[in-house]
């Protein structure tokens, strides 16, 4: 029995540094928005 042979289209994973900075960016953005929200409401 012959198989249909080909190649694997493996996705390239994002590096750990990129993951860290994207997570850090998300945290900073959330904190900035949270501070902005609370300040606007209370000023």
């Amino acid at each position: 029995m012959e198989d249909k042979k080909g190649f694997n289209k493996a996705e390239t994973e994002a590096g750990p540094a990129k993951k860290f900075f994207s997570a850090l960016g998300l945290v900073v953005l959330s904190l900035a928005l949270a501070v902005f929200t609370v300040v606007v409401i209370n000023v």
Binding site: K4, S30, V38, V40
Partner: protein, 277 residues
């Protein structure tokens, strides 16, 4: 009172009123968590542009409220509320999937009989599944098989027909034979049993990651692996190409070695989990 004076008075209150400062801090943490999960969810669903729109809207509204003393600043509360409403309205399917992925949801119970430990039986299952997939590949018969560990939500199993049968290539090929009632859905395998067939699976939303020549069957096969730890084996009806979907990623052109490797990994994990119980 102008804007500068308002900020000074807020700062003075924060430094003198401990209760207010604590409430202020807790509010910031709560809003930060809310925004974090909303933005993370939107990023995961390829909606980065929507985040920019929402942030821009929040900044504009905040600016308007800060510079216009005639409007109550409490109106800014509509921003987080609007974000939650938008996410619920636009991504109800994805939210449903997240709920399914939680472990405390009622999962289909699949009993493992003693024969599960039988190495010979496992080898037979692997051979039969590979044979069925290759036979269907040669005849361009569309098929989708999901290898689960008893972690398929009951809603999915109930959408098909429960079989609870031993695995055989004849059974698999019969189920997927065109024009039969169950051929269009997915077959769910758990351990050495075919649990159900003709099941409907949630479709993947990663439209840009799936090649254009792949249809709904592949989207369904990929969709189920995005949030539930299962493996999908898909045979294309058009080309006969066998595709493996795992953890939201697809590997096309699977040959018998690749299929055997996936199945051995699956049965090894299954065996380990059953022994741990």
């Amino acid at each position: 009172m102008n804007l500068g004076q308002s900020f000074v008075s807020l700062w003075e209150r924060l430094s003198t009123d401990v209760g207010f400062a604590v409430t202020f801090g807790i509010s910031i943490v709560a809003f930060a968590f809310l925004y974090y999960y909303i933005t993370k969810f939107l990023l995961k669903n390829n909606s980065g542009q929507l985040i920019l729109v929402l942030v821009a809207a929040a900044v504009i509204l905040g600016g308007v409220l800060l510079f216009n003393p005639n409007i109550s600043n409490g109106l800014f509360m509509v921003v987080p509320l609007l974000m939650v409403v938008i996410v619920i309205c636009l991504y109800s399917v994805e939210i449903k999937r997240l709920v399914w992925a939680k472990k405390d949801v009622k999962l289909a119970s699949v009993k493992h009989d003693g024969s599960f430990y039988d190495e010979e039986k496992i080898n037979t299952c692997i051979t039969e599944i590979v044979k069925a997939l290759q036979d269907m590949s040669k005849t361009d018969t569309g098929a989708i098989i999901v290898l689960s560990s008893g972690n398929i939500p009951s809603q999915i199993l109930d959408s098909g027909v429960r079989l609870d049968s031993d695995i055989s290539s004849a059974l698999i090929e019969s189920v997927f034979f065109p024009k039969t009632p169950l051929h269009d859905g997915a077959m769910i395998i758990s351990g050495t049993k075919v649990v159900a067939a003709g099941c409907f699976l949630p479709l993947s939303q990663q439209v840009d990651k799936i090649p254009k020549d792949l249809g709904t069957r592949h989207r369904a096969g990929l969709g189920i692996t995005e949030n539930i730890d299962v493996v999908s084996l898909i045979v294309s009806e058009e080309t006969g190409i066998i595709t493996i979907a795992k953890a939201g990623k697809i590997t096309r052109y699977a040959d018998s070695q690749a299929l055997k490797k996936v199945l051995v990994d699956y049965y090894w994990q299954e065996l380990s989990s059953v022994r741990r119980k």
